[in-house]
Symmetry: C2
Subunit: 222 residues, 2 copies
DNA sequence: ATTGATAGCCTATCATTGATAGGTCATCAC
DNA sequence: GTGATGACCTATCAATGATAGGCTATCAAT
């Protein structure tokens, strides 16, 4: 199987004139191919050899462009979450009412996760626990780019909660993190258990966001 | 490294009289060792050779007791969730008031996840999406024992919601699943992002459960 | 045009991993 | 005893991520 693919690649290389990709060009090509394969077979079922074959280069050549196999997934993940951030920014701009905005941010988040299950999985459902080695609690982002990208998006939610609760409220972080947990919970379950007999998705989303709303409302009344 | 461990095992085997474990005995021993190693290094960082070495047998011998490496983790996972079910049953018996019971079930769930991060990860944060092959939507449990075990526990929550909302309320499933998503969200995030600057855990738990409570209360008032 | 450096690519090869094949032998029921 | 069972072993696979070391297309500076 691999030998045959390798044979094809070599044969093509003999017939076609040798053309090398320009700096950065091949790198983008690898990312594009990897993204496609991730979508087709799931991120966990794609090997470096499959990527290399699809690109048309040898497997070790990948390492000239990326430090490791994970680095490829990581970069795709960061880029993917940058689009979430953009979506959040657009949503925030569209809904001046912070109450409505929280709702729409939550929906955008869940939607993003469902549309990009592989990227979401890499960022927030890692196999191994991520994070810096013990004793290094600073610079978390450098050790978990996926988290860093996700959190830039998370900022929009936190700002909106601050707008509702007042910027000085020490509870803002608690509420923002709780709402994050809430939307993450549904998103990750829908991704990891697609065959579960779920209730209608819209009803679930609405119920969860209603929980957040009624909590915020009850807190406001105090 | 492996050679040395192998040498030690062989030497011991030469000195000690050959003693074979009785049927079922070795199997339990393997599970116990695997559980310990999972806790020490994380479930994803334990290899079959490490387990075999710790048990004192050769790596292929594991396959006389388990069909695959995953099967070991799977069995531990099922057993682990059976303890959650027991905990749920005890909690349900202790709190006759369904409102209070929902609260305590949620707390028990989160606690369980934090105390058994590896088992929780295996059951609800799989690397690949679980489920039956396309076209086979029945008998989900047989294809995902971890989920099956978890859902037996989930039943307690659903029953409690039914007690609050009335058994005929079609919304019971939506609410129960939403609350499940809610507690799962916090649990999985605390497990996968332990280094994140979380707010105080108790405040987060309380905020999330308060969200569920105020939603249930607002629904009741209608 | 020549040259030197950069970088893209290759072949060969590792170590590690989960898993299988086939044989040996302790144990136990009869 | 004796045969069946099954626990165990050695040898060996194929697949995977990764590294070592060499070749050469490309391009800027001379």
């Amino acid at each position: 199987m691999v030998d045959r693919a390798d044979f094809v690649r070599k044969t093509v290389a003999m017939i076609e004139p040798i053309r090398r990709a320009r700096t950065g060009e091949r790198r983008e090509q690898i990312l594009a191919v990897a993204l496609r394969l991730f979508g087709e077979r799931g991120a966990g079922n794609v090997t470096t050899r499959q990527i290399a074959e699809a690109v048309g280069i040898s497997q070790p050549s990948l390492y000239a462009h990326f430090a490791s196999a994970d680095a490829i997934a990581e970069e795709l993940c960061v880029r993917s979450f940058d689009t979430l951030q953009a979506r959040f920014a657009a949503t925030a701009a569209e809904y001046p009412d912070p109450w409505q905005r929280v709702d729409m941010l939550g929906r955008a988040y869940i939607e993003f996760g469902i549309e990009n299950p592989d990227m979401y999985r890499i960022a927030f459902m890692p196999t191994r626990e991520s994070g810096p080695p013990p004793g290094m609690t600073f610079d978390l982002a450098a050790h978990d780019p996926g988290l860093a990208a996700g959190l830039r998006a998370f900022g929009s939610l936190r700002d909106t909660i601050a707008e509702i609760r007042g910027r000085d409220d020490a509870h803002v972080d608690v509420i923002a993190q709780a709402i994050w947990a809430l939307v993450h919970g549904l998103t990750s379950l829908l991704i990891s258990k697609p065959y579960f007999p779920w209730a209608e998705r819209e009803a679930l989303v609405e119920a969860l966001l209603a929980m957040a709303r009624s909590y915020l409302a009850s807190q406001k009344a105090r």
